[in-house]
């Protein structure tokens, strides 16, 4: 008998405000030049942000650099922040966009013009402490993820590796939740498809990734 689990409440440590001063109050203070208030926001979100960025770049130094750049950019844009909205998704949107821009630049640049960029090229961190099998699995999963188009991969990474809810991803990526669900389904489909192809899993006949453009339902 097949069972499909029903949606449970999401474990979500990232975008919900911790107790203490509200994010909104800290943002307001930071806007008026209170750097300590901004420091508190940084302390609240930096670990989560670094982890999320790391999922995309696979190098801790790069992830920390990008985290810093994100917080600088956010600081410069505090005046543009719509205080009727939540700070967390806005911060992550800027961080994820910065990270994707970085990855696009890196991809465009290819291998020959390393010196033109102020970001040092860094190899992915070797996952030292893990047993051999876990390493192989992670590397293999990474390879398959790279085969998935960025739009879908981003959603998959945030949902399945970082446990954001679909509504949070919608807020971070500034898309409708229906669009996120569409991308998520497509991403999981493709992951499964390419995984099966690489590992010789027999795929059902009717199982191919969709080629159609996504609908903004």
């Amino acid at each position: 008998m097949m069972t499909i689990l029903e949606p449970q409440s999401q474990i979500d440590e990232s975008l919900h405000e911790p107790s203490g001063s509200s994010d909104a109050r800290l943002v307001e203070a930071a806007r008026h030049g209170d750097q300590a208030a901004y420091g508190e926001l940084v302390l609240r979100y930096e670990q989560r942000l670094t982890r999320v960025i790391y999922r995309f770049v696979h190098n801790m130094e790069t992830a920390e650099d990008l985290t810093q750049e994100t917080f600088l950019k956010v600081y410069d844009r505090l005046g543009q922040f719509d205080s009727s909205r939540r700070f967390g998704p806005w911060l992550f949107r800027i961080g994820v966009n910065l990270t994707l821009d970085y990855l696009r630049r890196k991809k465009r640049r290819g291998r020959w013009s390393l010196f033109t960029d102020r970001w040092k090229e860094r190899a992915p961190d070797p996952p030292v402490a893990d047993p051999r099998k876990a390493l192989d699995l992670q590397q293999e999963v990474q390879k398959v993820l790279q085969m998935i188009p960025e739009n879908y991969r981003t959603v998959l990474t945030l949902r399945d590796l970082e446990n954001f809810s679909t509504s949070e991803i919608a807020a971070v990526l500034h898309r409708k939740e229906a669009t996120i669900r569409w991308r998520l389904a497509e991403a999981r489909h493709r992951f499964q498809y390419y995984w099966g192809k690489r590992h010789g899993t027999v795929l059902p006949e009717n199982f191919t990734p969709s080629e159609s453009a996504e609908s903004e339902k």
Binding site: M60, E64, R77, V141, D160, H189
Partner: protein, 156 residues
Amino acid sequence: MNCKTAQRQMALAVGEDLSPVESQELQGHLQGCSNCQQTWEQQRRGFAMLQRSRTQEIHPKSDSVWPVLANRLREREVESPRGEFNGWFAALAVTAACVLVFVFSQESSFPVASQPRTGSVTGGTMVISPADLRERTSSGPQKEEVRPNRPCNSAP
């Protein structure tokens, strides 16, 4: 529910991203469709791989980026008073230019309002520090850059 829809729903179901109603509909389809049952098993396996791969703990190298970040913000603050100083010079230069233009316009027969745009050339550009130019790739708000323009622009 047809098989195509069922497959989309399965991809959501593996990660518990379906509503109870959607979930029930899918279960109804799966009970009568062996092809989709096979897909469901594949989906679950693929999803399990993804979940297993995320167990690696991610530890940032430094305790916090804030000390470095605070320094960078402070460095920029140190630069901005110099900017204001330059801004003062710019404002003085603009004011002087306006006064000169005004004096000359009094002597000539041209109306005052047609003159003062000459002063604004020196206005805005001096106050943005190189570091700011480097850092602020975004079009974020910049605090001091426009002020020196105003004395002249407001004249006409």
